[in-house]
Each structure stands twice: as C-alpha cells, then as structure tokens.
C-alpha cells in the first residue's frame, strides 16, 4: 500500500556547470557579477548580482537568477513517490532573488508553469497553470499563496471507479522548517466534477465544490493531519434508483483527522456531515488497521436529524414508483441520537440512545394523522447476519403518541415501553388505546430481528366493545350498528403471511359475527390479501337491509362465509352459505328488496312486475330466503336456499298470502356483471308505496 509520508527529495543525476563574468572593485570590496550561466540536469539559468566583502561574511547585495524552460520531467526526482513515477510534459520557469549575508541568505522568487500536463497511472491533469511565490529565510521555506489551475482532472480507468473535474483551482500556502511539521493550508474549488462506478450504476455529475483545507505532515510522529471544510453547491447523484440534486441539500463536510503511518490508525477528531434539509451528524473516534481490516471505534451524534427530510430525500423519491402509497404520506419531527459504533467492517455493533420529539405521520390529504409522537429509545444493533446472544438486560425506552386521528375519530394518548436490543424490537408491556368507544390492546409485540428480517413479527391483540358505527365511519363504509369484541392470542409471521389464532367476535346487526382463521398474505406489499372465515348467527335482517338501503327484509339470518379472501379491497374468493332461520318472528320482504334481489340474481329489473303487484302489497311473507354462493377468479356461482329441478329458490314464499318466490336460473355470474348489477341496484330509487 502507498501511504502518505514525507519523502527525502534528491536532485536529478547529471553534470552541472556554471560560467560567470564580472568585475571586482577593490576599493569597495564589491564583486559585480555581470553574467552567470548555469547548465544542469534541471535546466539552464542566467543571472547577475553583487556581492560585498566588507563584512566578516560575504554579503549578497542583490542577486537575480532566472531558470527558464525547465523541463518539468526533470523535476520529478524532487518529488515523493508516487509523484516521481508520473510523466510530466511542459516547462517551468523560476525567478529567484537573493540577498543577505552568506551564512544567512534570504531567497525569494516565483515558480511558474503554463499549459503543463501530468499523467500518472490513474491520474491525468491537463492545462496545468502554476504560479508559486516562494521564500527561504533560513531555516524556513515558505510557499505563499501558490495558485494552481487545471482545466481537466481525471482519475481512474474504465474498469474501475472514475472521477473527473472540468476545472480545479487551488491556492495553497506551505511552511517547511527543519524538525517542524510540514503545513499546507489552502483553498480548493472544482467545477464540473463527476464520478462513475465501473458498472455505471452509480454516477455523479456537475459537482461544484468549494472549501478550505489544511494538511500537516509531522515526520517525528510519522503522521499526516487533514482538516478542512468543503461544501457542494451543486451536483447530481445517481445511486441505482436513488437520485439526489445536491443543490437542494448543499452538503457540507468538516473534517479534522490524523493518520498515523506506523500505527496504520486514523484518528478522527471531528467529522461533521450536514445536509440542509435533513440535519447534521457528528462523528469522532478512531479507525485501527485502516489499510487492512479496519476496526472502528467511533462515536456518532446528531441533535437535529429531520426524519421528514430523510423520507422525502431518500425514501419517497426512490421508491414511490414501486409503492405509490409513499406519495400520500408525510413525516415530521426531529430526531436526536448519540451512539458508539465499534467492530470490524462489515460486522459492526451500534449502541446508543435515540430520541424523537414532535414526530408525526400524516396523510397528505389530511384524512388521518398520528402525532405528536415522542420516543426515547436505547438501542443495540449488530450489523451482521447472526446477532450475538444478549448478555445484558436490555434498557427500556418509552414511546408516546399524544393523539391519533382517523376520519373524524380520535384516539387519546398512548404510551408504551419499548426496547431495541440485540436487533430485537420489543414492546414488553401491552399497548392500550382507547378508540371507537372501546379499547384495543396489543400485547407481546415483537420483531425478533429488525435488521436481517424486518418482516417477521408477532403479537397478540384484544378488542373490547369497539363501536361499529364509529369504526365503519372511519373506514368510509355504510354505518353498521353494534360492537366488536375479540381476542387474537397469537399473530405471527410465517414466511410472507401473518397468521393468527383465536377469534374476533362482533356484536353486529343484533346478532353475532365470529371471524376466525384470519391471515394476511404479503402484508407489506401493495397487494396484501386478507383471508378469513366468518360465522354469522342471529343477524337481524331488518337492520342489515336498512344499513345497506336494500329495501326491507325482516327475519333472522345465519350461516357462514369460508375462505374469504379480500385482495386490493375486493373479495377475490369465498364460499358462502347464508340463510334465514325461522325463530317465530315475522318474515317479510319488501317490494324494493325483492326487486334488488331479482336484479342481483338475474340482471334484469323486475320493477314492472313488482310495481304491478305492489299496487296491492307493500311486502310479502316468505318462509325461507338465502343462497349458497362461491366466488373464485371473478366468477360467482349462485345457488338458492332450496333447489327444485333446475330451479334455485332465493326466496321461498310462505303458505300464507301475500307470498312470493324468487327463482334463479342463472348460476354463474361474471364479476364485471355483478359490479354492473350492484351499480344498477345502487342507482335504483327505492319505490315507496
């Protein structure tokens, strides 16, 4: 490995000769050098001057030396490796002025070069212009405000990472004194910067970078120090699917670090990275064995990290095509964290504390909102495939949601203990929420490994007397009456499915609905499917038909819906057997309900027929109604509550008049046709008689 280190310079090999002419004035003890010509491997020089011999030491009263057309290639022996292996094209010019006593000569001058080209193994600089004033005042060399401009800088080749800049401009000042660290301070600007990964999937373009830097090389400590502050005023970044326009974020990095060559260790005294709309992160600490297998001991902290900015900048922009839902969400709040990062790459351990204040999750339409959210979370994360066994008791934090609002319904304050240790995110105590006039309690909520398998989770849930009118209003459904109570002792991820044990019981429409075998397939995808079985008992048909504006049917309904799968908000399959039961109560069906059942089962309106009959009757008695139906692949197979020959009776009239039968002959209905019929009965105005 090439490590940065001061390297002794040496002059190029070759002969050097000098001729001069002048005159010596004995009276004034002054030697006037009229011409002074030097020829050496470094190039040729011409000069003149005056030397006084009036003092103990000869003194240069004035001296000037001009090195012209110095081949830059000849200078590379003065440079450290790997610079001395590069190719230099072009010439330089050095003007030198000398004065002072022989043992305390003061030298100053300026080195210039125009249009030079430099090529290394991976680096090329074109149109390099240098203007470097220098001064030697024994025992110190100083290069002051050297100006360097290159019109094109390239690094790398086509099979490796490449970087380039259209223009690089640097000004630098260097101090060089014996037994003192070499110090270079300066200002760097580059425009038109770009980079590319070997496969072209990671690119940067149009970078405009401006900053100041300080380089310090200490031969005694074998260390190199780097400090500086750089800002990207512009630039575009493509990283796979991620795109960033840095003009909007104006990233700034401040760095104070030392590299110790003998120890191969980097000490980061301070590294601050700031993005305007996200916040800043401070890092300090050390990295051992930097050039081999880096071992990190770092501290990171932030006091103003904005999750909303991170969401907009990184997540939403990159994934909204895949998850359009992201375009409908807004995040708010401010995060602070401090943590230790230690271990070898890539198996790092991160532990510390995270806090969120004024957090908020909200629909852009403002139809729902959760927040303010406050979180204090101690955490311990292993960035490896197999987390270490927890050796200490996890520290517990607190999550508090002050308020949540869903379509006019609001939930009061929710607080929960929370821990994130050994990659397991655990809510050790039940989470209790007062909602919809009742309560929901989630217990044993746990993600066993949020780093390597974030989709795996388990919990249990209990719902107590949730008012269905409030719940259905929040879901924008027709308002149901009744309440929902239930217990799901276990919800667990199995592959891509959330499986449950237990049952949810709803007091609904005067009866009961029990929901069991609830499963959610692909719960974290845009095509989640809910699967469940339902058992209905003692449902008051009068309440049902009123709720759904289906005319009026009195009586009691019971039955089951098995294997119900709801995908994308629509039933995709089920097997249903729903039928009336005679409990001695009145069983009547209105003309409007008859008409709607007829439309649903046949597609044809029986309005004319019923309106004729309805002239005499508002409703009819029935002895049985119901159906057996199955839906699969958008085809609904409908059978009646009774079959006779090829006739399927959906409604069987009673013995007593007025009585009516509805007989279905069509047993298979396409989903599109069913939608059409539902639309038809929805648009039909109820017939009032």
């Amino acid at each position: 490995m090439n490590v940065l280190a001061p390297t002794p310079s040496r002059l190029p090999n070759g002969k050097a000769s000098a001729t001069f002419s002048g005159a010596y004035a004995t009276a004034s003890k002054k030697l006037t050098v009229k011409t002074f010509d030097v020829a050496s491997a470094l190039g040729s020089a011409k000069g003149n001057g005056e030397i006084l011999f009036t003092e103990q030491q000869p003194t240069v009263a004035k001296g000037a030396l001009l090195f012209q057309a110095i081949p830059l290639e000849n200078l590379k022996t003065l440079l450290p490796s790997p610079l001395n292996q590069w190719i230099y094209q072009g010439h330089g010019r050095v003007e030198v002025e000398v004065h002072g006593a022989w043992n305390a000569l003061a030298i100053k001058g300026v080195a210039r070069s125009n249009g030079a080209q430099i090529r290394g193994a991976d680096v090329a600089l074109e149109n390099l212009c240098l203007n470097a004033p220098f001064e030697w005042l024994r025992p110190t060399w100083r290069v002051g405000e050297a100006q360097l401009t290159a019109l094109k800088l390239t690094y790398g080749d086509k099979d490796r990472w490449q970087a380039a800049a259209d223009r690089v401009q640097a000004s630098a000042t260097m101090d060089l004194a014996p037994d003192q660290p070499v110090k270079i301070t300066g200002h760097l600007k580059s425009a038109g910067g770009k980079f590319a990964s070997p496969d072209g999937s990671k690119l940067g373009e149009n970078f405009v970078i401006d900053g100041v830097f300080e380089l310090r090389s200490d031969p005694a400590k074998h260390s190199i120090g780097l400090g500086g502050k750089f800002r990207a005023d512009a630039g575009e970044l493509l990283w796979g699917k991620f795109f960033a326009d840095l003009k909007l974020q104006q990233p700034v990095i401040e760095l104070q670090a030392d590299y110790f060559r003998d120890l191969d260790r980097l000490d980061c005294r301070r590294c601050n990275f700031n993005l305007m709309k996200i916040g800043s992160v401070d890092i300090n600490g050390s990295v051992e064995r930097l050039s081999q297998s880096p071992e990190l001991r770092l501290q990171a902290r932030s006091a103003n990290f904005l999750p909303g900015g991170f969401y907009e900048f990184v997540l939403r922009q990159s994934f909204h095509r895949e998850y359009p839902l992201l375009d409908k969400l807004t995040l708010g709040g401010e995060l602070a964290f401090q943590c230790q990062i230690h271990g070898n790459l890539p198996t790092l351990t991160t532990e510390g504390d995270l806090s969120l204040k004024a957090g908020e999750l909200r629909a852009q339409s403002d139809s729902w909102q959760i927040g303010p959210i406050t979180l204090n979370l101690p955490f311990q994360i292993f960035w490896s495939e197999s987390p270490k066994a927890a050796s200490i008791k996890p520290r517990i934090g607190v999550l508090a949601i002050e308020q949540a609002r869903f379509s006019g319904q609001s939930v009061g304050r929710i607080t929960a203990a929370i821990s994130l240790s050994n990659n397991a995110l655990i809510f050790p105590q039940p989470i209790h929420a007062e909602i919809f006039g009742g309560a929901v309690e989630i217990s044993a909520l746990r993600w066993p490994d949020i780093i390597n398998d974030p989709k795996q989770l388990s919990f249990s849930a209990e719902m107590k007397r949730l008012r269905l009118d409030d719940l259905t209003q929040a879901l924008d459904w027709p308002p149901f009456s009744g309440s929902l109570t239930g217990s799901i002792p276990q919800v667990q991820s199995v592959g891509n499915t959330l499986q449950t044990n237990g049952e949810i019981q709803a007091e609904l429409f005067g009866g009961q609905v029990r929901l069991g075998k609830l499963e959610i397939e692909n719960p974290f995808s845009s095509l989640a499917a809910v699967r469940l079985d339902a058992r209905l008992s003692s449902i008051d048909l009068d309440q049902v038909t009123k709720t759904f504006s289906f005319g009026r049917i009195s009586g009691i309904l019971e039955g089951s819906i098995d294997d119900l799968v709801i995908t994308d908000g629509q039933p995709s399959q089920f097997r249903a057997d729903l039928h009336s039961v005679d409990r001695g109560t009145e069983q009547r069906i209105s003309v409007e309900a008859l008409n709607k059942i007829t439309v649903l089962s046949s597609g044809a309106s029986a309005g004319a027929l019923y309106s004729g009959l309805a002239g005499f009757f508002d409703s009819f008695r029935y002895s049985k109604l119901g159906f057996k139906a199955s839906l699969k692949n958008d085809r609904l197979t409908l059978r009646g509550v009774e079959s006779q020959d090829d006739q399927e009776f959906l409604v069987v009239g009673s013995f007593l008049p007025p009585r009516v039968n509805i007989v279905s002959h069509t047993q298979t209905i396409a989903f599109s046709e069913l939608l059409h019929r539902l639309q038809q009965i929805k648009s039909d105005k109820p017939e009032t008689k």
Binding site: L203, F319, N633, D634
Partner: protein
Amino acid sequence: MLKRIIFSLVFFASACVTVNIYFPAAAVERAADQIVKETWGGPAEPAKPAPQPQSRRLLAPSRFVTLSFVSEAFAQDTDINVTNPAIRALKESIKNRSNAIKPYMDRGNIGIAQDGLLAIRSADGLNLKERAEANQLIDAENKDREALYAEIAKANGIPKENIPKIKSIFAKSWIDQAQPGWWIQSNGNWQKK
C-alpha cells in the same frame, strides 16, 4: 394358480392410473396477448373463443392433470382465467405506469429484454434524474410483471415451477406487440423493431 397370478399382474399393469401433465400453453398465449394489449396496447378486444384442442398440442408436454383408467384422457385447452382482484390490480398498475415508460421506449433508452422484462438499453441523452426515473420504472414494472405471472399461475392452479413458461409466453407477446422503433433484445444483442 400361476395363470391367475399372471392374469392379475397383466390386469393391474394395464389398468394403472395414467397421469398426463399438460400446460395450457395456447390459453396462456391468448391471455398474454390480451393482457399485453389491454395494458400497453390499444383498447382491449374480447377474448377470442378457444379453438378446439389439437391433438398435437395436447400431446405436447404442457400441464393439465387428468386421470384415466386404462385409456388416456386429454385435457380441454380452454381459456385460462386472467381476472381476479389481484390480477386486475396488477394490470391496472402496469397500465397506469405504461405512459411514463413509453417515452423512454420511444427514445431507445429502455428496451424489452429476451425474457420480456424491461431493461436499460442506452442511457444516451438522459440526465441523471431521468436515469433514476427509468431505473425506478423498470424495477417497479418488472416486479409487477413477475407478480402477474405468479398470480395467473395461482388463479389457474398452475404449479410454481411452470411460472417461467408463463413468463416466456408473455415475453413473446410483449415483443410481438412492441411498437415499431422500440428496441428488442435478441441473442444478447439489441435490435430495433
């Protein structure tokens, strides 16, 4: 006794259950043509009536499980089901995204790979923002297409191991119905249609 045993063996040998595994290739082809047209082409046409099964096709190693006793029975090559809420949602998603993808196809930046999925053919003329958008569109579209093939298999009881066959049939439809001027990958090389 020996005769009886031999007779029994011959009887059982000739009376064993034959399981023929067929894949409804023709029906999937029709479904693919229809879905590609609905999502990326013009207005959908009603599905063509299923042709009468040809013995050659039925004998091909496609998939359909039939059981017969002694004699072999052939599966009916009827239309497969290509509509349920999941398939509809995927078709809708693909259709909605198509208008965003087509300009990149027209400019030759995105092409149709041999497997029928989309791929970046050339980034010429694209700035980084457009490249990121193209990458995002391709990623989302390809995931939807793969999910669509899996849903079609699921809806029709086609085993998972035959999903690559569905993908291959769809690939042909995507390529056949590609607009003139779009780029198609063939044998690893891009060609303009």
